[in-house]
């Protein structure tokens, strides 16, 4: 046993010494795959942990939280709940996303009753700054209607200190608040502000309304049992949450995005595994006679398999260790310089600290080793099954992988992959969609030897020796050709799939933006907070502005349909009930409610997935604290709110809610009026209030929307680029290994009178033909994968559908670049293989 182990070590070390570059390439590929996966995991985990911690800290010691829509609910509910015997303490809270003039992001602002909050959620009670004169804290500031307390992160973000003024928008006016102190218990990463509850209601026009009630229950009261008794006491759309529900909702918001990024990061590991497969397969071909000799000398099949798998595992282990270190460094750098948001916008402003766990590091290391082992499996199996007597003969190389050329397992895997696209999501995630993509890739790769055989066998006979040799090599050695071909297929199909998916998505978003932005000018009180709105006088002023032909006002709000899910956007705007398609990107024909039926609402695609709402159905929506019946009159596409949105006619909304606040206005201009001139007049009319208003054209909004789209895909592009780069390295490695394995053949050709340039031309032609076939197959496979991404993964992850768009120019450019790169790589590899000289090549035994 010790002897075998020593032999294995010697052989492993020998391979490493003989081909350090090739081994290093495999190790680096695995390392990059592990590093990308681990870094993305660490960043997302850190951001989510920070977010969860923030959520937890905002709930303080509360056992339950009663929460309503963003517009709030009647504060008398507080008195009713607080008086229940099961409730030990209750703390009412006003919660607004305050718009800060000049800031892109809103500041969350809580209005609390300090006397109540101190028992339930002491972290929300501010720490007044000491007065300079006597050095004593000014405790009365807790109730000062002009005083506000900021968390350390908010102070740092806004560059403020106690005594400074914080300006917050309220309607189209601003409110100046004095920074009276800080909130030291808030933690480092959370930005928020706290003020007195009465002051918040008054300042932000929410008299009589609160957003939530934090409850501390009496000793011995079962929180879940108590929660079940609450619904009859609460208005519609108001529900009680346990802390774990809040954390789940927080995690749900970003889960699909995080999982998709994780999967994409692991694609790099897949291409890394493929690179290991290419190098191992070619190494086994190159060492075929050596391995046969070991068998002849008495090494068992199992021993040989173990030796080759040990090679793969050793490379995987080295790559995994390197990858974990790289991943840690990468995650630390990203968190330090860019924060925890990877472009999806789920963790804006969160700057979490890195927390690496041994378990996750070991998990990703195991994935790296498993990927390397998976890449080594087929070559090891094939080498062990080879008959030593036959393998000792020169020219037997092509029998390697011949067993893989039978198409049936590959076709079976492809059919299984296609069948899995019909499966439903698992826990809201497209698990079977991902498995389907993986199966299609694996099946197509396994089909390559057969495809190479079929294709190259029908290549035309040519008179010239160079193409004759190239064609003969491809037709006569399809097994060896298929290794390079599979690399090209994997890289190009992933490239094509991502290009098609992103193009489809971008084009759909572009068309959607055009559909939902029909006006010529848009006015918004705030696109980030909910403290801005148009007072009546300003609405009249806008409508009367010269050059404005028509104005449509809208109201954006949120409602809660399921306490276990994030809130749903409620958009009230004027809609022609007979032609809703004029304002909404409907996915199917709308229905018009018959006389006597409830008024219509149009729901986003997410509502059908998450809440089962279908066109023509009657649904109940909580509006202003009561359940109101509506008819689902159509389903529309929404690429902004993945947790669902409901559009309701503004008149219907105002009738049902009594809420006449307006947050947005869409303007159609009179003939001859220009957007610039009208915008200027609006600014003049609204005077200083115009500074708190966004006046934008649909073009600018469209541009901003597409910019946000590109930003959210930036990390996706990066991960994809890394995966493709590893794939291209795999192609280069496989060409290089094949060229070296063929150096004897090149030597013979040189002896019989083939010039170096002819051999170069032959290799370039082989590379180009191989890449062309790989590109064609990759295009088909990429299109199939893109179909899954477009029609399965995206709808199941984000609940939005899109139309397929083919970026032909981009695909053609990528294809040409890949074919050229493959030709040049093959040529360069051949030059290297020929550098040893024809004399040496024909004398070489191994």
């Amino acid at each position: 046993m010790r002897l075998v182990s020593a032999l294995l070590k010697t052989l492993l070390a020998g391979e490493l010494r003989a081909h350090p570059g090739r081994v290093a390439l495999s190790v680096i590929a695995i390392a990059i795959g592990v590093a990308m996966g681990y870094a993305v995991h660490l960043i997302n985990h850190a951001a989510l942990a920070e977010f969860s911690q923030a959520t937890r800290s905002l709930m303080g010691a509360a056992d339950l939280e009663i929460r309503g829509p963003r517009t709030g609910f009647d504060e008398t509910v507080y008195a009713r709940i607080a008086s229940l015997p099961q409730v030990a303490e209750a703390s009412p809270v006003v919660e607004v996303e305050a718009r800060l003039p000049g800031q892109q992001e809103a500041l969350r602002l809580f209005g609390i009753d300090a006397f109540r909050a101190v028992a339930v959620n002491p972290g929300l009670v501010g720490q007044p700054a000491a007065k300079e004169a006597d050095g004593e804290p000014q405790r009365l500031d807790l109730f000062d209607p002009s005083a506000v307390f900021l968390s350390p992160a908010a102070l740092a973000w806004l560059g403020l200190k106690p005594g400074d003024t914080l300006t917050v928008q309220a309607g189209l006016d601003t409110v100046a608040l004095r920074v009276a102190g800080s909130l030291p218990a808030a933690g480092e990463g959370l930005r928020f502000a706290v003020m007195d509850i009465g002051a918040a209601q008054w300042r932000f026009g929410r008299i009589g309304l609160i957003q939530r009630i934090d409850l501390k229950l009496a000793p011995g009261v079962d929180a879940n049992a108590f929660r079940r008794t609450l619904p009859p006491l609460l208005p519609a759309g108001v529900a009680a949450f346990a802390p774990e529900d809040k954390l789940r909702v927080t995690a749900t918001l970003s889960r699909a995005y995080r999982v998709n990024l994780d999967v994409l990061a692991l694609v790099a590991l897949f291409t890394g595994a493929f690179l290991v497969f290419s190098t191992q397969a070619l190494s086994v071909i190159r060492r075929r006679t050596q391995l046969a000799l070991l068998r002849a000398l008495g090494m068992t099949r199992g021993g040989l398999s173990r030796m080759l798998l040990a090679e793969g595992a050793a490379q995987g282990l080295a790559g995994a260790v390197l990858g974990i270190v790289l991943g840690l460094g990468l995650a630390a750098a990203v968190l330090r310089y860019w924060g925890g948001d990877l472009g999806g916008g789920y963790f804006p402003g969160v700057r979490p600290t890195l927390h690496a766990s041994v378990a996750s590091a070991l998990g990703f290391a195991a994935l790296g080793i498993a990927a390397s082992l998976a890449g080594s499996l087929a070559p090891a199996w094939e080498a062990a099954r080879a008959r030593p007597a036959q393998a000792l003969k020169a020219g037997d190389e092509e029998t390697v992988l011949r067993r893989l050329s039978t198409p049936w397992p590959a076709l079976g895997i492809i059919v299984a992959g296609a069948a899995l696209t019909q499966a439903k999501p698992v826990a809201g995630l497209p698990v079977f969609g991902y498995v389907s993509v993986a199966l299609l890739l694996v099946g197509a790769i396994l089909l390559m030897p057969r495809l190479a055989h079929w294709t190259f066998a029908i290549l035309p006979s040519v008179r010239h020796a160079v193409p004759h040799l190239a064609f003969a090599q491809l037709a006569g050695a399809p097994g060896r050709a298929s290794i390079g071909l599979a690399g090209i297929l994997a890289s190009f199909s992933l490239m094509a799939a991502m290009a098609i998916m992103v193009a489809s998505f971008r084009d759909s978003v572009d068309r959607w933006l055009n559909a939902v932005l029909p006006a010529q000018l848009y006015l918004r009180t705030s696109d980030t907070g909910d403290t801005g709105f148009f007072p009546d006088a300003e609405r009249a002023a806008i409508a009367a502005t010269p050059g404005v032909a028509r104005v449509e006002f809208a109201r954006a709000n949120q409602i809660l349909l399921n306490p276990r899910r994030p809130a749903v956007a409620l958009i009230a705007r004027p809609i022609d009930k007979r032609h809703p398609e004029a304002r909404l990107a409907l996915t199917g024909p709308p229905v018009e409610p018959r006389a006597g039926e409830p008024p219509p609402v149009w729901v986003s695609e997410a509502m059908t997935d998450l809440y089962g709402m279908r066109t023509g159905e009657r649904v109940m929506l909580p509006i202003a604290g009561r359940q109101v019946a509506f008819t689902v009159a159509g389903v529309w596409r929404d690429y902004v709110r993945q947790n669902g949105a409901v559009v309701i006619d503004l008149d219907d909304y105002q009738r049902a809610s009594g809420d006449s606040r307006i947050t947005d206005a869409a303007l159609w201009l009179a003939p001859g009026a220009t957007t610039e001139a009208v915008a200027e007049r609006l600014r003049e009319r609204l005077a200083q209030r115009a500074g708190h208003l966004d006046i934008t054209t649909p073009g600018a909004m469209r541009e901003a929307g597409l910019r946000a789209f590109d930003r959210s895909f930036a990390v996706t592009y990066l991960l994809e680029a890394v995966a493709i780069a590893i794939g291209l390295f795999g192609i280069a490695a496989s060409f290089s290994a094949q060229a070296l394995a063929r150096s004897r053949e090149f030597g013979v050709l040189r002896h019989v009178g083939v010039t170096r340039s002819q051999i170069g031309a032959m290799l370039a032609l082989e590379g180009a033909l191989l890449a062309s076939l790989g590109v064609v197959a990759g295009c088909v496979l990429g299109w199939a994968i893109a179909l899954i991404l477009v029609h399965v993964v995206n709808p199941q992850s984000f609940h939005w559908t899109m139309d397929l768009s083919m970026p032909w120019r981009l695909l053609a450019a990528l294809a040409l670049a890949l074919i050229a790169a493959a030709s040049l790589t093959a040529l360069a590899s051949g030059r290297r293989a020929m550098s040893a000289g024809a004399i040496h090549a024909v004398r070489e035994d191994w």
Binding site: K393, A394, G395, D396, E397, E398, T399, S461, V462, R463, H464, A465, H468, L469, A472, Q473, A475, G476, A477, R744, E745, G747, V748, L749, R750, H751, V752, G753, V754, T755, R756, S757, G837, A838, I839, V842, R843, D845
Partner: protein, 249 residues
């Protein structure tokens, strides 16, 4: 046909180990010459210099009137393609080509049409007794058959000079005898067209089939005069020369 004039060659540059020292050799049209010598004495190096695959440090090699030393790589390759045929110890047939395709390769390289190349390759194979194997792949052949394919490839384009490097080194004695006979016959059959042959070997039996034998030693190339006794049963791999030479260098 071939004139080697005082060539010197050192491996590892001019300051390296000198393998060939002032070697001269002439092979006339129709002549079949064997060069013998111990392993490492430079037999293969001599062959490579003649083929233009390597350059001597001094001296010159003239093949069919062309000074190989003045030709660049491209020109030397073209001359080799046209005028030379190679037979190796390790056969070196291309595994992905059929037997006929392997044999047709020099014809295609010299611009023959595919059909013509194929028919001439098949005819050549028939002459060598391989008429039933032209569609086989090399891995389906025995060692002797594979070497016949290699010989067919070396002869098919009627080269002026056939170079053979230990052509029987990997063959059993009976097969080796057949191959040697075949090589000699083909050289002699082409004698009228000016074909000559040069075989390098350490096998006395192989050398014995040549018109004359030269012995390559560290001192240079010299005619070899064999001992009187002949042992017909001597194994082909013996390094002891057993056959009298017929002429001198």
């Amino acid at each position: 046909m071939l004139a080697v004039e005082s060539i010197t060659k050192a491996h590892g540059g001019t300051h390296g180990r000198t393998v060939l020292r002032s070697v001269s050799l002439t092979v006339r049209a129709g002549e079949y010459v064997a060069v013998m010598g111990e392993s490492g004495v430079g037999k293969s190096t001599l062959l490579n210099l003649i083929a233009g695959l390597d350059k001597p440090d001094s001296g010159r090699v003239v093949v069919a009137g062309e000074d190989m030393c003045t030709l660049d790589d491209e020109a030397a390759t073209l001359l080799r393609r046209r005028s030379m045929g190679f037979v190796f110890q390790a056969f070196h047939v291309l595994p992905y080509l059929t037997v006929a395709q392997n044999v047709a390769l020099p014809l295609l390289l010299n611009g023959a049409s595919r059909r013509d190349a194929h028919s001439r390759a098949v005819a050549m194979l028939a002459e060598l007794g391989m008429e039933t194997r032209h569609d086989s792949l090399p891995r389906e052949l025995s060692g002797g058959e594979t070497q016949r394919v290699a010989i067919a490839r070396a002869l098919v384009h009627a080269p002026r000079l056939i170079l053979a490097d230990e052509p029987t080194g990997n063959l059993d004695p009976d097969t080796a005898q057949q191959v040697l006979r075949l090589l000699r016959e083909r050289v002699k059959a082409g004698a009228a067209a000016g074909t000559a042959g040069l075989i390098v070997t350490h096998s006395a039996l192989a050398a014995a089939t040549a018109d004359r034998i030269l012995l390559l030693t560290a001192e240079g190339l010299a005619p070899f005069h064999a001992p009187q006794a002949t042992q017909p049963s001597q194994p082909a791999q013996s390094t002891l020369p057993t056959h009298p030479t017929r002429s001198e260098a």
